[in-house]
Every structure is written in C-alpha cells, then in structure tokens.
Symmetry: C2
Subunit: 357 residues, 2 copies
C-alpha cells in the first residue's frame, strides 16, 4: 500500500510533464569533418587493389585524427590542421611530401586556412622548405598582420617563428619525378599541341591542353570541420600542377576560391583545375548562395561545380554547414574523399559512383 | 497645290506611325568607366591646393583616356588598361612609378584584371621590374594557361613576351623613401606599439597598428569599364603597403577580392586595407548580391563596404553594372575617384563630402 502510494506519487510528475509536453533534453549539437585528397581522372581500371587500399586507409586515418580533435571538444581549426598534416606527410597526395614537381624539378607548395567564427584567414604561396604548409598558413592568420605571404618572404616569416627549413628533397618522390618526365616529354613531342602548356596559347591549343592538364592535377588536399561549439573552419594544401612554370599559383591559397569559411553559412575546400576555380570564386560562391538564396549546402555546391563545368573546368569541393550537412560535389570522374559527422556512419570514397555526402 | 499634296503625302506615313505608337529609335546603349586612385585618410586640411589640383588633373586625364577608347567603340579591357597605365605612370599614386617601398626599400608590384564577357582573369604578384603591371596581368590572362603568376616567375614570363625589365629605381621616388623612413622610425620608437607591424601581434597591439596601417595605404589604382558592346571589365594595380615584409600580398591581385567582372552583374575594383578585403571576398560579394538578391550595384557595394567596416577594415570600391550605373563607395575619409558615363556629367572627386556616383 505504502509502495503503491509512493509509485503513484512518483508517477504524478511524469503524468504532469506529459500533459505539459515537456522539453526533451537538448540534442547534442552535431560536429564532424570532411576531407578530400584531390579530384581528377581517377578510374577503377587504372587503380590497383593495393594502391586503392593505401588511399582508403590514409583517408580513414586523417579523418579519424580530425574527428578525435572534435570529439574531445577541440576547435575546428585544430581538426583541420590535424587531418591535413597527415595528408601532407603522406606521399600519396599532392601536398607536402609527395607534392608534384614544377618545371625546375622542385616542389613548390601553397596552402590556406580560414576561421569561420572570425573570418580570419591565412595563406602562403610558393614555399619550398616548409614540412606542413597548412601550419604556416595558420601562423600567418594568427601571428601576422597579414592574410597572404608569398615565396621567400613567407619562409623568412616561418624562420622567425622557429620553423625548420627542410631541404626540398624531403618533398620529392620518384613517382612525381616520373610524372614530370612524362610531362616534359609530352611538351617536346613534335606535333603534340600540349607543348603549349604554360606558354602562349592559341585557342586551337586549348582542347589538347585541357586533356593534358586534367591528367596532371590529382591530389590537392583539404578539410572542412565543425566543432562542438558550432564553429566552422576550412583549409587546403597543395603542390599545384606538375611542370608548372612562372610562379603559377592556383586556387588553393586564394581565400574565396580554394578555401572559405563563415559560421553564418559553411566551410569549403576545393580541388581541381585551379584557374577555373579562381575565375568562379568557387568557395565564396557556395557561401554566397547559402547567405543570399537560403540554398542548402548541397544545392549550393552542386550549382557552383556546374558553373565551373560550364566554364570548361573540372574538379570538386567539400562543403560543410553549421548543422553538420556535408556536400562532396565533383564533376571529374573521381575525388578522394571522406567524411565523419557525429551520429552518422563514416564515409570513405574515391570513385564517382560512391557516396557524395 | 502640288506642293500641298506632296506635304500631305509626306505627312500621312507620320500620322499612321503616330496612330500605331511607333517604336522610337533604339536608345544608344550606355558606356563609360570609373577609376580610383586609392582610399584612405585623405583630408582637406592635409592637402595643398597645388597637390589637389595635380590629383584632379591626373584623374581627369586617365578618365579621358579610358573614355576615348570606349567612345570610338573599343573594348572595355582596353579602356581599363589605358586608364590604369596613366595612373601607374604617375608618381602621385601607389602603383607603377611612385609605388610605396617595401621593408627592403624596393617597389614590389601586384595587379589583376578580369574580362566580364568570358570570366577570363589574369593576375601577377610581387614583380619588381615591370613598368605597367596591369599589362602583364592582361598578358597572363590572354597569353598563358594560368590566372596568377608570382615573383620572379612572373617576370620570366614577361621576358619571354619581350617586356623590358626596368631597374627598380625607375619606380622609386623621394616621397615614398620618406614614407618608408617614417614607417621604420615608428617601428623602432621605444614604446610605440606600431613596432609590431608585420611581426607577431598580440591583440593589444591591434588598435595601434590599425591607425598606422590606415595612414600607409593611399593610392592603389583601379578601373571598371563598360563598352558599347555591353561588355564589362575591371582591373586593379598597386604597390601594396609601405614597409611590407615577408612577400605580403593584399587584395589587389586576388580575383574575387580586389577585382571581379561578370557581364551578368558588374565590374568591381577595390582599394583599401587589403587583408579585410580578402576576408570579405569584396569584389565577388558585390557581384553575388546582384546575382542572387537582385540588388542594385549601389546597394550591393554599400552593403559589402559595411561588412568590411564591421570586420574592422576600411577602404572603398568602384563598381559598374551593365546598364551604366556606377557606385563609388568607401568608409574611409576620402577616395580618389572619377567617373564618366555616356550622357551624364563627368565626376572627379577626392573627399567624403563629394559625389559617390
């Protein structure tokens, strides 16, 4: 009887609550990240099972490293640098170690990063001795009065911060040496219109050039992250284009083209034929569609990649909004990519017929 | 009588036309251009009548040169380079001859240009020997496969096109030498927080730095033009920031930040504290508001400059739409500016209380 009374007593508040439609406990805010390792002509029939396994394992490792930062409550910027550092250190991707070689046979690196909470940004272009270019881009953002530093000047800044200057040989790999030799041979081959690469182009040369350039641009890496505090960040790191000349810079170090982040909209990192991504202001255009049209991150990303395609360019983007919705859009045959959002299954993908979000 | 009949006969078609509410002859499509010579702390009480007259005369001369190209049916891109070349060649502005000196005591030049019809773009950063950087940016756009070339590489490209390599002394002026000495003295002065310029900033240093940087950034030049064919183009050229270090690059050579042009929206050239203009993707943001919100060019330009102000930056933009509407918006005390649109009076202005369109 006493027990009966007690259970009735305990049940009463619950009944009262049910009647008042009580507030459920607030849902955990979503967090997570997406990474890419470059877009391009990545086809199953040109891939060996062993190499594919290496790519998937390294993508999963970088994803896990970034996710661990977020899971323990760390900032989105730290997740971005943690994930990108692993990709920079892997010779599989065109960033840091294993970057493509320029026309002088050396690795020349670009990177950028942006903080979605403050719209602070940092970028470096054309460095030769910095192990993890994304870290230097972050130091430009956080420890200088500037957004973009270039060439030797960027490395003098790095030295003043105590960065180790690695010999360029650290970055160079036999695979990239072979790619450069192929590019040089294609340039010299009589009758090959691709000889025009990086020189003066007649419009007749463009279609041949397009094919050539497409084959040379795998592997820029990038990351977009959302932390438990609701802050977004994005970063991109690259070695650019094989056999590049004349201090060519693509979209990777250009804020608004290769990288953009705003808590009000999304974080974006792009990869692809950089010249087209600059002309279309890809990363900012995705943010602008969300801000001005209220489009979803996926619709905005797909629309912008379609614009790039219309201009004649190809590649892809990863974009993440403040609610944890992720887009991985590309118009190339494949894009190395992975994503892990809290409460959702992890994605690791390479080909065009696999998941895009 | 015969004459009377004839005049009646001649009058009849006119009457018939009047009855049918005839189409008036199509109005001449508008054409014209706007230019700027930099935004900053430009105050009447710090200006001499003689110097002011020189500025107004050079702005009018550059405006006339660009307008003449358009008036005879020439392309917007030619008007942009014609106007900017005159501003680059004048020691009054921070571009080409008379550019500010960097920390090494030399002039280091950036420029970019964009074709609104094709969305083609070209940019150079960190060149030391090119008389008219805007022309090299245009050659990058039209004669290379790339959008952006940097440093020595950009000059090797220029040499391959037959550009004369001028000694850096051509660009250097006594006035800029004095500015550099002042900047260096301010850096060294004990207790002056501006010593932090270009070094590592504590947040406490920022307000002092802001004042210092504001005083040092007059004079980036730019042009936006609309030709009789309805094509838009934009260009920007600068020497950057006095005493700049570490290969610092501002917004002037960044497509989407300092320069953007699309026939679908507008042509934009920006000037101001470049770091903030990059972070706000100023030039593309104005275009995006017109594309996605249907805003007028003036409302879009004013909104974006307000965003820059909210971030803590200052400066201005000129923006021209395909109907000949021009905006000259700035949140600094003054901006050297001028505009001439067909059928409208010419504007040449410097201070904040003069015309903005």
């Amino acid at each position: 009887m006493k027990l009966h009374h007690l259970s009735l007593l305990l049940a009463l508040p619950a009944l009262a609550c049910a009647a008042k439609a009580p507030n459920p406990p607030p849902p955990m805010p979503p967090f997570g990240l997406g990474i890419h390792g470059g877009a391009g002509v990545i086809l199953r029939n040109e891939m060996t099972p062993g190499l594919e396994a290496q790519y998937r394992a390294k993508l999963a490792e970088a994803l896990a490293a970034g996710y661990a930062v977020l899971d323990r409550g760390g900032p989105a910027l730290d997740a971005v640098t943690a994930a990108i550092n692993l990709l920079e250190d892997s010779p599989l991707f065109n960033a840091g170690k294993g970057a493509v070689l320029n026309a002088d046979g050396i690795c020349e690196l670009d990177a950028s990063i942006m903080n979605g909470r403050t719209l602070a940004a940092g970028a470096i272009a054309g460095v030769h001795h910095i192990k993890n270019p994304i870290n230097l881009a972050r130091d430009v953002m956080e420890k200088s009065a500037h957004v973009m530093l270039t060439g030797d000047g960027a490395e003098i800044f790095a030295q003043s911060l105590g960065y180790e200057m690695l010999p360029n040989e650290y970055f160079q790999t036999e695979f990239r040496r072979q790619q450069l030799e192929q590019a040089r041979a294609a340039e010299k081959k009589p009758g090959r219109k691709t000889a025009a690469l990086g020189r003066f182009l007649s419009s007749a040369d463009v279609s041949a050039l397009e094919h050539f350039v497409r084959e040379q641009k795998y592997g820029t890496v990038g990351c977009v992250a959302l932390d438990r505090q609701g802050n977004l960040a994005a970063g991109t790191s690259t070695g650019g284009m094989t056999n590049k000349k004349f201090g060519r810079v693509g979209d990777a170090p250009i804020i608004g083209a290769g990288t953009y982040a705003s808590n009000a909209t999304c974080a974006v990192s792009a990869t692809g034929w950089g010249e087209f991504f600059i002309r279309a202001s890809v990363a900012h255009d995705i943010s602008a569609q969300m801000e001005y049209l209220g489009r979803s991150v996926r619709e905005a990303a797909a629309t912008t990649i379609a614009k790039v395609g219309k201009l004649g360019g190809d590649g892809g983007v990863i974009a993440l909004d403040a609610k944890g919705n992720i887009a991985m859009e590309f118009n190339s045959p494949g894009m190395y990519r992975a994503a892990k959002i809290s409460g959702l299954p992890e994605t690791v993908a390479i080909y065009g017929d696999e998941a895009r979000h």
